[in-house]
């Protein structure tokens, strides 16, 4: 909501005072406040997600699938505090994915395609959080919380966690394809066509991850070069791209149903269409 007044997409009438007073003004008057809420929530969530999954819990990059029971038990023991505290934070904030999914569904609603696309994406990605993220958090928390559990059982929990996280594929595969198809069919120029094809790249990462269910070692196991490192690189580029493009979409949004204006034209047209009409 604290979008700066210097932005080309800022509505007219925004004051030039302190950051706090500008934020308050936008909160009350910015006609795009719901969209900005969803966008900022997305950015904050990815920051929390990165901090928790990488430095705090060490669940990413994932440890090796070929470890022995004793090594797995040592890993749980060694990361005990990080796992418990990190995933507790995720349990508190995981619903921040909902505004992100809502904003992406909204991008499809703004396109010239059927509403069915946005709704399909919304349902798929709402479900995705459970097998694709929360099960790992529950299972690793259970592994870490109780000292002295049988190492063979810890190993089962460890496999369960990392396979559910890495191996939940179809939702992201088909979800990306739904977004891709909507972008390629769209006549309203909501998203650039190249991003449609980047969706295809993201979808393909879910295909190459399937061998993680089969291999225990090598480039195709769950932390291998192909199944993890290349995937993460593509996912990082994809996420960075859509966060930037969604921001541009919000700046361009004119609340019409025709083609989305370019950033410059939108800025000029805004004075007449949106001034003083927060709703």
């Amino acid at each position: 909501m604290s979008e700066t007044t210097a932005e080309p997409g800022t509505p007219p009438g925004a004051p030039a005072g302190s950051r706090l007073s500008r934020t308050a003004w936008h909160w009350r008057n910015n006609p795009k406040r719901e969209l900005w809420f969803a966008w900022y929530t997305t950015v904050v969530f990815y920051n929390i997600f990165f901090i928790v999954f990488f430095p705090v819990t060490h669940a990413q990059p994932p440890p090796h699938p070929w470890w022995s029971d004793a090594q797995v038990a040592y890993w749980f023991n060694h990361n005990h505090d990080g796992l418990i505290i990190g995933f507790a934070i995720i349990f508190a904030v995981a619903a921040m994915t909902a505004p992100q999914n809502a904003l992406i569904a909204y991008s499809m609603r703004r396109m010239s395609v059927s509403r069915a696309f946005g709704y399909s994406y919304l349902v798929m990605y709402s479900l995705s959080a459970v097998p694709g993220m929360l099960l790992l958090c529950v299972v690793l928390s259970v592994g870490a919380m109780r000292p002295g559990r049988d190492p063979a059982q810890l190993h089962w929990l460890y496999d369960f966690a990392f396979l559910s996280f890495t191996g939940t594929m179809g939702i992201f595969l088909l979800g990306s394809l739904v977004w891709m198809l909507a972008i390629l069919l769209d006549k309203n120029r909501v998203m650039p066509k190249w991003f449609g094809y980047l969706n295809l790249c993201n979808a393909l990462t879910e295909v190459v991850v399937a061998p993680a269910w089969i291999f225990h070692r090598g480039v195709l196991d769950w932390n291998g070069l192909i199944s993890w490192w290349i995937n993460v690189a593509v996912f990082g580029i994809y996420t960075g791209a859509f966060i930037t493009l969604l921001r541009t979409m919000i700046l361009r949004e004119d609340f019409g149903d025709g083609p989305l204006p370019d950033l410059k034209k939108n800025h000029q047209a805004k004075a007449s269409t949106l001034a003083g009409t927060p709703r």
């Binding site: 795009k32 719901e34 619903a95 999914n101 909204y106 459970v130």
Partner: protein, 244 residues
């Protein structure tokens, strides 16, 4: 005469469901005196092997499995209310839709773990302990969707038109309080005993009382809205007919 749209039928399923939920809650022996996470594997296995407990665990969890998702129609009625609010975009109703799918799914997973533990109570105590841990952690800690839906409802009300609001402001404040009451449950993995353990004051009593209070308060607010909106719609129709 207004055409039947079924909203009232969906709404009045709530008291019936609430009766079933409360019955199942009281039937489940591990809820009345919530099981402590500091119980040993042998104690947990004995709990499931006790014939007095076993049937009650199974029947209560079957009831929850049948009727737990029954909350979704109420949540959809709330989505319909959010859609009536003076928002520029459907973003907040989409957010609410996204959260509503998650809560019952998570509860069903906990339900499955409890039923699994009870299915073969004769297996090794360590395995029963693990399924019991998985059930309790899923049930207790995985609260994000409940927190999310309360905060989305609160935000939707705050961003509604202040002169003719769909819900009054206090409903938004109430939802923020409920969301805050649910947050400590997310941290239950930190303690095996005391007020933060899954049978403790904050993750069990405060959280579950908050959920119960949310269902009751939001049902009443929702019911009043649905009846008021119906009365307004029929007044409008009478006025239109008189004008013709």
């Amino acid at each position: 005469m207004r055409r039947t749209d079924g909203e009232l039928i969906l709404f009045w399923t709530l008291p019936v469901l609430a009766f079933i939920w409360v019955s199942a809650f009281l039937l489940f022996p591990a809820f009345i005196h919530p099981m402590s996470p500091s119980m040993t594997a042998a104690q947990v296995a004995d709990f499931y092997r006790d014939p007095a407990h076993l049937s009650r665990i199974r029947y209560s969890m079957i009831l929850f499995n049948w009727f737990g998702v029954g909350l979704i129609p109420m949540l959809m009625l709330l989505v319909m209310q959010v859609r009536r609010m003076a928002h520029r975009t459907p973003i907040l109703s989409y957010c609410l839709l996204g959260c509503t799918a998650g809560g019952p799914t998570v509860f069903l997973i906990a339900d499955l773990f409890w039923l699994l533990a009870a299915f073969q109570p004769g297996r090794g105590p360590q395995l029963t302990l693990m399924f019991n841990d998985l059930a309790w952690m899923t049930f207790t800690a995985v609260v994000p969707f409940l927190i999310g839906q309360s905060l989305v409802i609160a935000l939707a009300i705050y961003l509604d038109r202040p002169d003719r609001p769909v819900f009054r402001r206090w409903v938004a404040h109430f939802n923020v309080v409920v969301a805050a009451a649910l947050v400590p449950a997310a941290f239950t993995g930190l303690a095996l005993s005391g007020p933060m353990a899954w049978n403790g004051l904050l993750p069990f009593w405060v959280k579950n009382i908050a959920i119960g209070a949310w269902i009751v308060v939001m049902s009443v607010a929702l019911g009043r809205n649905i009846y008021r909106q119906r009365a307004e719609d029929s007044d409008q129709r009478v006025a239109e007919e008189a004008a013709v």
